[in-house]
Symmetry: C2
Subunit: 361 residues, 2 copies
């Protein structure tokens, strides 16, 4: 059974298809432009597992299908890796009709989407996310980027794919640590937008951790629906879209300070969500029972809940460089009641206390 | 007197303002977003002439105005120079509201526009072109790019500025060779779109070469109007916009083969236009008198009309990698009658003859 989530950003429309066995299903690729060239951009970990399956399916659409393997990991979400995509495209004589297929996690998706946006000033691309995190988060919404040594995701584009194909079979080969990191982003959608979904997650968490396909299908679908709805209102993050960054302001600080790759993105976001929930509680916006429920779910997942002890000053400085910072003021995504989010500044003392509690939790 | 050319691409609207003394005129900057940070991106040649004038004008809009000097020339339209813009923005703590001002020629405009499109996934930018070429060509239409070692302008974006300010005073300090290279693009608009404008150019060429402000103002205005009209029909170069590349297929081959910086872009385009007019004549689309008029105007300008002798095979191979190439077939912008352009393939023998004539002219 294939679930479909339509996305309409005003500027672009595309479908997210969710189900088991989709890579091998010809219907997944129907309607993609039958251009001469297609390039599957993937990484050294995913390539041996899935690249041949996808390449075989695409030969009926494209005369020449090639596979480009990038190094694996956030540490390689940089210019040299991005440029290796351009090298490959130019060396293969790829023209403006070429379609890129991003087969992998968020790093592959981010770099492929960025490369597609820039190659000859824009060619189409398809997202084929193979991690839970990418399926529920980075493949929806059109954010693409590479990292700069002075900040994460600082150089990039809003660029929408022409389709997203989430094959749940690809999650079978995902290391448990990565599955759990992806669950952090799934969990996020509850407190910011849908308390009933959070109730469901609490109930179905064991099934999700055991990779039950039905549970995963619903988790991916509901996450994508919520994200698509938010992005549909605000493609370029002027307003409401910022709520999707719940947990990310603290999380980015952790990732940046430790160096990309120490903590997984979802792990940093999970810990960041707990801090942001704590901050919301300090501001009187949610109750202690909500902080407790958030903490319990993260602990059941095995996600880290203690933040690394960088010192309060380092956190504040790192967060000041977050893209959401305006005119030097740090703005936080907080819970404005359980199931609703808002963006607002917070007193430094309050933030300091949250950080101190998080590093000693 | 300020002339205004409105541009509407469907996705973006902005004004091109043309006149003498505009940099010093507060009216030129009215309506620009009054953000905390502004960065003037310029180059080492233009900075000592104009950067302080512009910076002073902007201090009433922006609390912090900084100037970043890039190296001068097409050879530096590359990733290291682009990344130096990102370094500067991040080191200065520039946020998403920061406005970039591109003060310089096409290289500065291309890189600033590209950087603005990618920094934190997009910040606004203003074009302040200081060469004739940039005023009539690269500042209109939103094409931005850097070069790749395997091809010119291969990595870039369509990204529209929020305003273009063409101060004709900045042309006074332009070396004659660059003024003349800019005239090549002005001349282009006649045969592809407006035969009356070409008649005017033939009549006023001496005034243009002597930098008569009234003549320059009309030349810039009419060029921008034609370009804006074409771009308004086709922002992303799916169809009619390609006619603006008249002369560019041959021209890019010349630039690529000689290495960027040997011939100026306008010189290569001028020579390329003559070759494309010759090709049009071979295809029976224009008469020998049109080739003659084109040649005469280029010669009066002092533009090169003999193409470098790379060998026919090298030309064909270099042109096959042009962005307009589709599925291996080289498509040329030809004159479909004098004052009209069309895009079409041409027989290899015909193209070979054109190349052979051009290298021995």
């Amino acid at each position: 059974m294939t679930l479909t989530v339509p996305v309409d950003t005003g500027l672009a429309r595309y479908d997210i298809r969710i189900g088991a066995g989709l890579l091998r299903d010809p219907a997944s690729w129907e309607g993609m432009p039958p251009s001469r060239h297609a390039v599957i951009v993937t990484n050294v970990t995913i390539a041996p597992l899935w690249a041949q399956t996808l390449a075989q399916m695409l030969t009926s659409l494209h005369r020449q299908v090639s596979v480009l393997e990038l190094p694996d990991g956030e540490a390689h979400k940089d210019w040299p890796a991005l440029n290796s995509i351009f090298d490959h495209l130019l060396q293969s004589g790829c023209d403006r009709q070429t379609v890129l297929y991003a087969l992998g996690g968020g790093v592959v998706g981010d770099m492929t989407g960025f490369a597609a946006g820039c190659y000859m000033r824009g060619i189409p691309f398809v997202q084929v996310p193979t991690t839970l995190l990418a399926q529920v988060d980075s493949s929806v919404g059109g954010k693409t980027a590479i990292n700069h040594r002075l900040g994460k995701n600082m150089i990039g584009l809003f660029n929408q794919p022409i389709r997203v194909v989430c094959d749940l079979d690809t999650l079978r080969t995902l290391p448990q640590r990565e599955l759990v990191a992806g669950l952090a982003e799934v969990i996020k959608y509850g407190p910011i937008a849908d308390p009933v979904f959070f109730d469901w997650i609490e109930r179905e968490l064991d099934a999700l951790l055991a990779r039950d396909v039905q549970a995963l299908a619903h988790a991916v679908q509901r996450s994508c629906e919520i994200k698509a709805q938010v992005v549909g209102q605000d493609e370029r993050e002027g307003g409401v879209r910022a709520i999707l960054n719940f947990g990310h302001t603290f999380g980015h600080a952790i990732e940046t300070a430790l160096g990309y790759g120490q903590w997984l993105h979802g792990e940093a976001v999970g810990c960041g969500m707990l801090m942001a929930t704590d901050l919301s509680m300090q501001l009187g916006l949610v109750g202690p029972q909500h902080l407790e429920r958030m903490r319990d779910v993260l602990v059941r997942c095995g996600l880290p809940t203690r933040a690394p002890d960088l010192g309060v000053a380092a956190y504040l400085s790192l967060m000041g460089r977050d893209k959401k910072a305006q005119a030097g003021e740090i703005r936080f995504v907080v819970l404005d009641g359980w199931g609703r989010a808002a963006v607002r500044p917070a007193p430094d003392e309050c933030v300091s206390e949250v950080i101190q509690r998080a590093v000693t939790r």
